[in-house]
Symmetry: C5
Subunit: 366 residues, 5 copies
């Protein structure tokens, strides 16, 4: 339940009517740590837990300066950082109010990119990743220390691939690509869960399956809500020809865009399958009930007339009072006659049911 | 019921065929009160219950003059105000006929913006907020005195944030943003209600849930109908590059637009969850009925044959009349034989049911 | 039934393959009456039952000449009128074949506007209103004498509002606005009907409700089909910048367009509510059946074992033949023992049912 | 069944991977007959069963030369004709492979138009009509001799309407219009069938109705699939401003386009009504079952306790063995007491059922 | 089951966060074989199992050089080939990671086209076909040796049709056309399966049908997912006016595009029919249950009162103790009276059931 709760709840950004652009300290996050990774084709300098002064020093000295802010608790530092790089106040507000939809906002000399990355762990909770892409720098914000960027950091440190010789836009792409790619293993897990459910629902349907399918549909809904706006965001970046994004990086973003499309595609397919499975389950319930009812009906149809006959000859009419009173009881073949009567009646009803084609169908076709 | 009634009812604008642009007194509202708030970066003058003459006096003397009209009863004053600022007659009609959809109409030297703000109280009723944005002035109309603008007024009075140094377009944004933000707490309340319902429907479904889910779907429908056109309105403002809206204000409007998208997003998600919950409920009803039917069937299947046997040996055939007449009654082991017969018959049927897999399933898996 | 029939039936325009532009006499309508209303800011001349010659005389002498043709029976007169004003043959065909969808066709020096107006009476049947808007004239065609234009005529006669000082385009707007506005009261009636149905379906559902909801959905479908194309028609007029429509009239058309959007909006909401109500009804049927079944099951579960016990001790085994034959019948406490057995069996089954939680649920929670 | 089969089956165009543009003889069709109708405002020459030489002779001598090819069996002749008029090979392939969707392809100096016309007879099968529209000529292909163009031919012969004085584009329009119009009577037939079904389903629902509604939905689906692409085709013709289509013909095509919109409109309405009727039927089944179950329940609820009482006093406990053994049997008012007990029990159960409101409801409200 | 598994599973492209453009050896595929087919209008050279050196030699010497790479195991060779032709690294990555959606990416001097071709065998599994179209060359990659291109190869070898005289763009079209066409026979098979199911579901519905229909819907979903992006890919090629695609080839691509539209069309129709069939099945289940319930009810309604009467006169009240105790038993016509009572009661109930119209309906109308 607790997991569900977190997914549905929406957090209001700030008090309605309060001044926009006011950077409210983010209540959950604790301190803010700044890590700087400055690099060029030849050199790479790394400074964990950097101060603002150290950032100011590194700024501009390398082709790419990546400032990672982990934890959003230290509002003053964030505002100071914003002023140092001339970031828009409203953009900073979006960074700190961590319930934004993914989007790309153009503020002239810098871009604000917001993406949602999966929290570490198997659940579907996401946290906000914000990035300011300017000329020569990339400032990223994330509420927690844990992220999925270690492979990117390694690639920078070890100068693997083209990352060291590319600009901040390529770094930005690499991070967003990591975020998008991290959705795939989770979706894969859903796929396997769905397959298991499918096997079970088709083979031996169980009431619990409906709840599970509802949960799956609901989580895929959440998934879609998380992934969908990335598509728009990336599409905007590719289409709008920002100066900050070089033509060389564009095909990579297009590739990343393709992945979001693929994610959406699979999510939609899963949702349709889940819906169809609910129908399959419901029909299996109906079919089961049908069989149960048939059994009941055939039992009742056979035994009710039989019981009537036994009841008939169990009546106590006074045979002494009148020769008309139940003479059968005194017949020599009375009992065999009654048994035969029952046999004929039961047989007739079975035969009639079989004739109508719906009584033995359940057992015949099962 | 009374709450529902108000939501569905549509009010006709005016008598069909009557002359457009005719400002019909708004029947519900009483008097009209005009409050003026004129301000610039340095100074701020406030005049509650201002007369038309006072408004005329203040007009143009400050960078921004905000004329608030509370209550739409005094048609003459509204018409006079409209003439003073050269407002379009049709636009004034839209102000007074308070069942417009949110929209932004461009009348050349002024814009008419219509939004719907939530009435104070927890329900989903909305009332019309109309604003004329011209160069240096903003005239707003609302049917009641209560609104959600106090924080904005405070920001002006206390010169908090950038509001005092910005133009009328920023003020207009600030008001619309307040209106949009006020929808979030209500939606949050729906989210919590939906979570509770979800827990209940999954754990212990109850007939009343269907009605509650129907009501929720219906109110979310109303919600969507109220929120949706704000999106178009804001989109129009951002896209159409009106002269009256400065480039500085545009990012703020875009931010506000993002919030309506977020609202729509959450509403749609809630609606899909509510629909899915109805399916879950219905399937739980089917499953319950299935179990009930199984119990009935097993009871009938076991006891009907038993009762038949008891009936059989309760018949009164005259054993004296013939040795063929119910000799079992005279057997030494007659009664034990009958009991054994019953036991075997009941046991056989239970075993058969268990074999077919559908009789004990309910209890086995429950 | 008769009402339904009329709604579904489609009337073929003309014999397939016949020459287009051929003005076939409209079978239903009888004669054609021409009324002329010519006016300018200062003067207004009215001529009911005018002849073609009189029309020709008035043509061009006033700023606006409005020729109303009521009844489409007199094809010759219509063709002659068409030739007098140089109207396109195909356009005239559309006027006479009264099953067109609303549309605006541009024929260079004149526009053909087709709208569908509600027939007088509470039903949803519509009839075709066609208008030729040219420079200085408006020719309207309608099959019946009754219409919803009397308020417009009065406004012309009494020079109310801006109508006398505006051109033919404004008159055309005024008529279309009357047609659109006339849909609101009908929709209001549907709204009230739907509210009543909603109350009933939720409070005491009845089989007849399904049929009523089906009829409502179906009529809203017809409604939508009637209203929807007006939206396109008006949108075309606003967007396409026809010379015949002055910039002053454009905001009025936009207003009218807003009303069709509002109509569509309400219709869609009603349809979704009606669909949801059918689900609510069906679920109430399921729930009722569930309760009925539970009652049956509990009755059968309690009384079948009881009857078995009574049957058991109603058997006639010969106690004289063997001490094993039903010794209970001779016990001192035999009868109390049997009663106790029944009590325990019934109590046990009730308790078991209560334990499984589904037998008393109906009564507990009802 | 045989009719259904034909609708679903798709025919592959040609062996996958075979060379496109290869004109494969159309297996079904037999010979090809060429009829030529050449006309101008003053003169009209008709030649049935023309040879290629005769076509070559007539080509260019009249303002419009209409070459009708009936039957697609003679591939050589078709290829020769194609070469004579310089038609694109791929276009010729589309003519012969008669399972194309309606479309308009522009090949520079000629247009290929493909439409699907209803086969003569009441079913929904269509056959392909292909037309090459060039300057001064129209070449049409159809697989069978029968078609719906006789009225057009008559109009040419008798110089009715504007057809003789118009170009090949007008002729092309006239043929397509005939094809589209021929759909209306069939749709009308569906409308009447649907009305009958509607009456029946609402008044006395029958299991066979579900199958009929399924068939109707399915055929309307086929219908839509046949009509829908005509809309695109005509839209393309109107929008793309081909030189071969004169401005005078454009309004006629727009008219034809309106008819396809109308067809789609009606088809969609019918489909929604059919879907809604299935719901109505299913709800009537549920309601019926509910009533049946109520009857069963009330019968069982009343008679099971009664039978229990009779069983009780039918037990054979030995009254001689103990005064506790069924003393009621010896009471003076024993039998009346038992009868009263039954009456009270039955009455009480009926009253209880009535109190719960669900037992007599069926009969009360039926 | 195993077949289903393969369809749903998604394969992650590469480790999240790893460097893009890194050509990871394709785990499944073994070796890579290169076949070269170089041809012009006059000559055609074929080299199976060519080396890189041989490819380099042939490059540029013929108007069209088609390099087929079968198997993606030899990454080095692929990278070397990419360098020889100056292919984009990211494009090469897409070739090797064989779970791309069909798309057309423009890399300036070459196009990357990705399509999915059906694996040989009747199932719906697809494998990735990638093609680099450059000026004068076409490089294609496929994971397996088997494909559907043999007819194309034959056409080249035997100089059939226009393929030898056309460029690499036409060859590329020919291959994609083969891929698209290969979907038709499979879809045809589905069509036949659906027809059989339709016949069965309508004639004698069986529980297994639901599962089959679910599987069909699911596979059509997969089918759609496979076909749909081809449409976008082809549309992009036609619309974007690449230099590499000659105007002569464009109509052929348009033709190919039409085929994908046709595929989508048929798939959607099949899906709607399958959905409708599930409804038909479910309704047949409901109808059957209704009939079964009616039979049960009529049996119970007739025999329960009868059994009650027999029970009544089976009671053992002591007639000696009181004249009020069951005097009927001593009547002369006691037994006939009881039989008559039963007859009247049974007859009355049957008549009442018949009157209510729902008891014999099942048998009457079956």
């Amino acid at each position: 339940m607790s997991r569900r709760r977190k997914i549905v709840k929406i957090k209001r950004r700030h008090k309605p009517g309060s001044s926009p652009g006011l950077v409210v300290p983010h209540s959950v996050a604790g301190q803010s740590i700044m890590n700087v990774l400055a690099y060029g084709p030849d050199k790479c300098v790394e400074k964990a837990g950097a101060t603002l002064a150290e950032v100011a020093e590194l700024k501009g000295t390398f082709p790419v300066v990546w400032i990672e802010v982990e934890g959003l608790g230290n509002t003053d530092a964030i505002v100071a950082l914003g002023q140092m790089f001339g970031l828009h106040r409203l953009a900073l507000e979006d960074v700190v109010n961590t319930h934004q939809r993914p989007k790309a906002d153009d503020y002239g000399d810098h871009l604000l990119l917001i993406a949602r990355m999966l929290k570490q762990g198997a659940s579907i909770e996401t946290e906000q990743f914000s990035a300011f892409l300017g000329s020569g720098y990339l400032i990223t914000f994330q509420p927690d220390v844990e992220d999925c960027f270690d492979p990117v950091r390694e690639r920078i440190r070890q100068a693997k691939g083209r990352i060291r010789s590319s600009g901040a836009d390529y770094l930005c792409y690499a991070l967003i690509d990591s975020i998008i790619d991290a959705y795939f293993p989770l979706l894969e897990a859903y796929g396997e869960l769905l397959e298991d459910l499918e096997d079970n629902v088709v083979k031996e349907p169980h009431p619990a399956h409906v709840g599970e399918l509802h949960d799956m549909k609901r989580e895929l809904l959440m998934f879609r809500r998380a992934v969908w706006p990335h598509r728009e965001m990336l599409n905007g970046l590719i289409r709008d020809e920002h100066d900050l994004i070089s033509p060389e990086t564009r095909p990579f973003l297009r590739d990343c865009y393709d992945h979001t499309i693929q994610l959406m595609d699979i999510i939609e397919t899963y949702r349709e399958i889940a819906s169809s499975l609910i129908d399959v389950y419901m029909s299996s319930v109906s079919i089961k009930m049908n069989e149960v009812m048939k059994t009941l009906t055939i039992v009742a149809t056979i035994f009710m007339p039989l019981s009537f006959i036994t009841g008939l000859y169990g009546m106590n009419f006074d045979r002494a009072a009148s020769p008309l009173n139940m003479p059968e009881l005194g017949w020599y073949y009375g009992y065999p006659f009654a048994l035969l009567l029952m046999l004929v009646s039961a047989g007739g009803l079975v035969w009639y049911s079989w004739l109508k084609g719906w009584v033995f169908e359940g057992s015949r076709r099962k």
